[in-house]
Amino acid sequence: MKNNLFKYFLILAFLFQIDTFAEERNYHKELITDWSRIFPDKNRNAAGPKFFKYIIDKKITYKDFIEFNKLYCAVSGSLIDPRSDSEFLFVKESKTNNKICGNYYRCCVPCSCDVMKYSEVQKMRYEFTDGLQEFYVITIKNPCNKSDFPNRVNKDYFCEGKNINSKQVYNLNNRIVIGLLHNGRSCKNSDIDLVKSHQVTGEYCELRNNTPLEQLDAGMGDIFIKLAR
């Protein structure tokens, strides 16, 4: 009994010390600290791909990868408050044309609509420090040939001539990866119903996605759409 109590005491004291000194990784702070490294010209317009590339180039675990990718908006390039909730939505898969459902972390609601309409997802496999993982990433087609490439976006971030600039953004099957679709999976009928009946992904997105480009004045306006359409 005495021995056992002593052991319990040691274990508790040890756990207490761990609790006192343990420091959780602050992903948001890391992105803030490195912001000027990610965007040396200070232009983050539609630059979700820059965040994605910066994150995946780090030597990190899969958990770190997931957490980092909750903290920026793939459409706008804005940082997101760590306390923000995600939007449940679907995006078309490039290879199958099937709807893939998942969670999207966005800075504001119009970005959810833009991602649903103008992007596609692809399955991606990647070796993290703790093993190989497969997940769905959100992509846009190569914009480098566009005659109307939006002038408020830094083209050098995305393009090297008419090709995707793989040093700056992640190129997956000649599409640019703009972010991660969290918890991605094939949609069930009930998922699709849920998305379509939701106040944002249903009603609002239908309105936004049927509004002529020149009349858009919310979210990133027409910047991302011009880049991604």
Binding site: M1, K2, L5, Y8, F9, L12, A13, F16, T20, E23, E24, N26, K29, I32, T33, W35, S36, K42, L79
Partner: protein, 481 residues
Amino acid sequence: MFIKKISLLNKFLIILFFILSINNSKAEFFKDISNIIDSNESRLSYGVSVTDTNMDGNYEFVVTGFGYSNLALTYVEGKLKNIIKEDIFLDQSRKTIGVAACDIDKDGFEEIYFLNTDTYSGIKKYSDRLIDKKNNNYFDLFELKKNKENLNLTAGRSVVCVDRKGDGQYGIYVANYGGPTRFYEIKNKKIIDQAENLNLNKVTGGRAVVSGHILTDRADIFAANERGANFLLKNIDGKFKDVAFDYRVDDEIQNGRGTALSDIFYRGRLDILSGNWLGYHRAYVLENNEFKDIGNTEFDKPSRIRTVISADFDNDGFDEVFMNNIAEPNKMFRIKNNGKFEEIKLEAGLEADGFGTGAAVADIDNDGILELLISHGESKAQPLTLYKAKVEKKSKYLRIKPINKFGAPARGATVTLISNKRKHSKTIDAGSGYLCQMEPVAHYGIRKNEKDFRVEIKWTNGKINFIDKIELNQTITINQK
């Protein structure tokens, strides 16, 4: 048998409770001595500086007034009393926010720069004042005809004194907001703005600024800015080059506020504490030509930060970091060895309803313990508050007061206490906190079993002197030769 088990269990629980109690103990750190402030009425104040306004060898707290009088509070007969009544100093009609004092004309008297701000950003109506003293009368150098072409008519925040050439002639860096930074010096008896010549005339949202031996053996500058990257201005032969990006202190998307120089690792060099408004506070330590932020999650927690002060309030030989928040409780951390920040729970000094706008430390009553003066204002008029740490009776201290060759405080010099326990550098404050400036003395509490003391003084020209054979519990004045 059963009783024996219960008894063992009780012992175990008692020990556990004891350990938890030690870890969560809240011995009161400060005592509130605000009652010694004479005529302490509610007012709108901002920056506080510490300088000797009457050249009597004792320092005064110079407290700015925002539409209220500027004050020079000295300790006399157990009270803090305002000793300056002259209108040009009181200047009740102007809105003073930043303040710093230093000897810009090499006569040994520290001129006082009052930064006035009547607008948030851009062009302002009333210029700043640079108070000098002649024949026992105060006057504003900017009111002299020859100086009127160089008035600062841009909104600003903090000011810092910079002996950029190491020759004892101070210039004043003015962190403007929405207009170019200014750097005032006296040349041919006239105030001129040298900012353009020195690569300092950038436009930003200037907030806080410190100067000292950060990177070189001369006065470097760190400026914490808002809506733009911070500046880390490396002194290269008296001119400046911004290396904030290279050294990773640019913190581009945060909004800088209080900042201070602090030897976070007790390793004999000055690193940087930088508070960010509702952002992550930084504890930057230099490693391999880059600053690394080592603040833990309690330290870096976003708050409505204003002034940041690093000082040993309780004379235990470890510096505390006081974080003055506006309309939010203040915070205090002790910097333990290896850069570990340990929170000290405040009761006195917490000021949960305080609208703190500035703060400064000085041993105003010359008893070997620092006093902390906090000013308040902005959106609510409040009186000043004054605190003194509760120190152990056996505690000891050592204060080093470097005086430059012109007889003025050697602001920007670095003092290092070397002992069997630490190599601990402190800056002779040239301007810090936020809008503020601390006393120009390196104040050290002494650790338990600490011995073999030696003091190194690195002057603003980079030259070094040592003091050996040190007796504790005194202020040692060392004059530059």
